[in-house]
Subunit: 322 residues, 2 copies
C-alpha cells in the first residue's frame, strides 16, 4: 500500500481507534467485564490483587525506527507481566493507556495491539481495558494485575544470610543487542542477530515466578535495572549482603562474540544490563532448584553487593540521569 | 526561594524522586504491600476487582500555567476514582506512572503528590505504587482500583424503557471555567471564580456511586465526554433511547452569569461539558431517589438521545479530532 493511502489514527478518531483495538483482542477467563465501560471487572479469587504499572515513553524506552509496533507491544506487556511473576503471582490482565500521534498508521496500531495480545497469551492474561488519547509521541501507560492463588507473595525483603542467590532467564542479551544497534554493528551477522532481537523482545521466564514462590523463595525481583543494582535493592530491603561468584554468572557464548566485535566486556552486560527481565531470587540452601535456575552466589550478613569479594561500582539505569 | 536555588527532579534523580514521593504518602487499609517492590498488593475482599486507567498528557488534559501541581494531582486522581464509583464500587487505591521533565521543580512534584493523596483521602483510597521516568512533558498514567463490596456492578448496558434518567454532581461548571480561562475573562470576578476552580479541580459525587448500586441503578457512568455523548453510550449499550427534559436540566446560576459575560449558551455547557465527572444513572421508576439525584428525563424504546423531543447534534470530546 502506498504511504499516502495508509489510514491514520487521526482519521479513525477516538472511537474508531477503540473499536479497532477491541476487535483484535479476546477476553480471558479472569475478565468479568472487558473494555467499553467506565472500568473493567476482573476476578480476584485469592482475595488479594497484585498490581504494577509502568510508563513507557517513545525515544526513552523504545524507538519506532528500531522496533516495530508488534515488538513494542510485546516488550511493554512483557516488562509488566514480569513484575507480577516476580511477586510469585499469575498475571491475569493488563489495562493500557495509549498516547498516539494522529499521523500514526492504523497498521502500526494493529501490530502494537497484536504484540500486547500475543505476549499476554503466553501467561493466559488479556488486555481488559484502556484509554486512548492524542500525544505528540507514543506513550504507553501499562498496568498489570495478577492473582497469588493462595501463595505468599515473594517480596524483596525476605533474604536471609545463608540463602543461595539464583537467576532464571537471560542476562545481558538485551544490553548487548542495544550496544550493537547503537554501534550500527553486527546487524548482518546471523550469529549475533538474536541480540538485537533480545533488545526488541524480552523473554521473561514467567512460569518461574509462581514456581519460585512454591519452592520457598525468600526474596525475588525481576532484573529491570541491571543485576547489580537490582540485587542491591534486595540487599538493602532485606538488610543483608549479596556475594556473587563471577565464574558462576551465566555469560552466553553469543555475548562473548558480540563483545569481541565491539571491544566490550560481556560480564559488564550481564552485571548491569537491564532489559531482559530475568528473575533473581534467594532460596534457603536446602531447596533443590529446578534447572531453570542458576545459582550465582549467596546471601551473607552485612550490606551491599560484592563480586568475588570486591564491591563493584554499581552501573544500571537512572531515568533522570542517563 | 530564588528560582535558581529550587531543587529539580533531575537533581533528585530517579530514586530521589521515588523517596520524595513515598515520603508524602500514607498507606490505606486496603494496601497489603505499598510502593518499593515489583508490584503492590491490595486487598480484594469481594473476590472481584474493578480497574480503570487514564493517560493524561500535558497540553491536552492540563496546562501547568493554568493549574498548579496540586490541582493537577487532584484532578488526575478524581477522574479515575470517579470511574470506579461509576461502577458502583468503592475505590481502594491508585497506581501512578509519572513522566517528568528533569527541570520540573521538586516543590511542584510535592504539590502534585499532595494533590493525589488528598483526593484519594476523600474516598479512603491511597496511592499504592507507581513508576517514574523522564519525559519532555508531564505525562500521568493513572490506574484506579476498587472493590464492589458484594454489590452488583452498574454497567452502561442495563437501562430499560420506563427507567428515569438522573444526574448527581455538577454539570457544565468545568466547561464554563475553561471557556473563561480561554477567553481570559472573568478572572477578577469573585462570583465567577468558582468556574475556573471547577475546571482545575472537579468534585465528583463519589459516594453516590455505590449508593446508586444499592438503590438498584440499572445503568451508570461518569460524565467525562459531555452529558449528551455519555448518555448516548448508555443508549447504545442498552439498546434504548434517552429522552431529556431541557427544563429539568440543572443550569446553575453561576453558569448563566458566565454565559452572559461570554455571550454563550449555558445549556450547551451542561449538555456537552465533560470535566465535572458528575454521575449519570438510570433507575427503575419506583425507586425513591435521595436529594443528590436530579431526574432529567426517561428511558424509552428506540435509540439515541433527544432533548425535548429533538435530536441534538452531539458535541463532546474526541481526543484525535479536537
Amino acid at each position: 500500500m502506498h504511504k499516502g493511502c495508509a489510514i491514520t489514527v487521526g482519521e479513525l478518531g477516538e472511537f474508531g481507534v477503540i473499536q479497532r483495538i477491541s476487535g483484535r483482542l479476546t477476553q480471558g477467563a479472569a475478565v468479568l467485564l472487558g473494555p467499553g465501560d467506565d472500568a473493567a471487572i476482573l476476578r480476584a479469587p485469592d482475595g488479594r490483587v497484585v498490581v504494577s504499572t509502568d510508563l513507557l515513553v517513545e525515544g526513552r524506552h523504545f524507538r519506532r525506527d528500531w522496533s516495530g509496533g508488534y515488538d513494542i507491544g510485546r516488550k511493554a506487556a512483557a516488562q509488566n507481566l514480569a513484575d507480577i511473576a516476580a511477586m510469585g503471582a499469575d498475571p491475569t490482565a493488563l489495562v493500557v493507556g495509549l498516547g498516539l500521534p494522529p499521523d500514526a498508521a492504523a497498521d502500526w496500531l494493529d501490530a502494537l495491539t497484536d504484540g500486547f495480545r500475543d505476549e499476554c497469551d503466553l501467561v493466559g492474561a488479556t488486555v481488559a481495558g484502556g484509554d486512548v488519547t492524542r500525544s505528540e509521541i507514543v506513550v504507553l501507560g501499562v498496568t498489570a494485575l495478577g492473582d497469588l492463588g493462595g501463595r505468599p507473595p515473594v517480596t524483596r525483603s525476605g533474604a536471609r544470610p545463608g540463602d543461595v542467590v539464583a537467576v532464571a532467564g537471560r542476562l545481558g542479551h538485551a544490553a548487548a543487542g542495544l550496544a550493537l544497534l547503537t554501534a550500527g554493528a553486527g546487524a548482518g551477522s546471523p550469529e549475533l542477530r538474536e541480540l538485537p532481537e533480545a533488545h526488541r523482545r524480552p523473554r521473561p521466564p514467567y512460569a518461574c515466578g509462581p514456581r519460585a514462590a512454591l519452592l520457598g523463595a525468600t526474596a525475588m525481583l525481576d532484573v529491570s535495572d541491571g543485576l547489580l543494582q537490582d540485587l542491591g535493592h534486595v540487599a538493602e530491603a532485606s538488610g543483608v549482603a549479596v556475594a556473587l561468584d563471577a565464574a558462576a554468572l551465566p555469560v552466553a557464548e553469543v555475548l562473548a562474540a558480540a563483545a569481541g566485535e565491539l571491544g566490550a566486556d560481556p560480564l559488564e552486560w550481564v552485571l548491569t544490563g537491564g532489559d531482559d527481565h530475568a528473575l533473581a531470587a534467594t532460596f534457603p540452601p536446602a531447596v533443590r532448584l529446578p534447572p531453570e535456575w542458576t545459582v550465582i552466589g549467596e546471601v551473607e550478613q552485612g550490606q551491599g553487593v560484592r563480586v568475588d569479594g570486591q564491591v563493584r561500582t554499581v552501573g544500571g539505569w537512572d531515568h533522570f540521569r542517563e
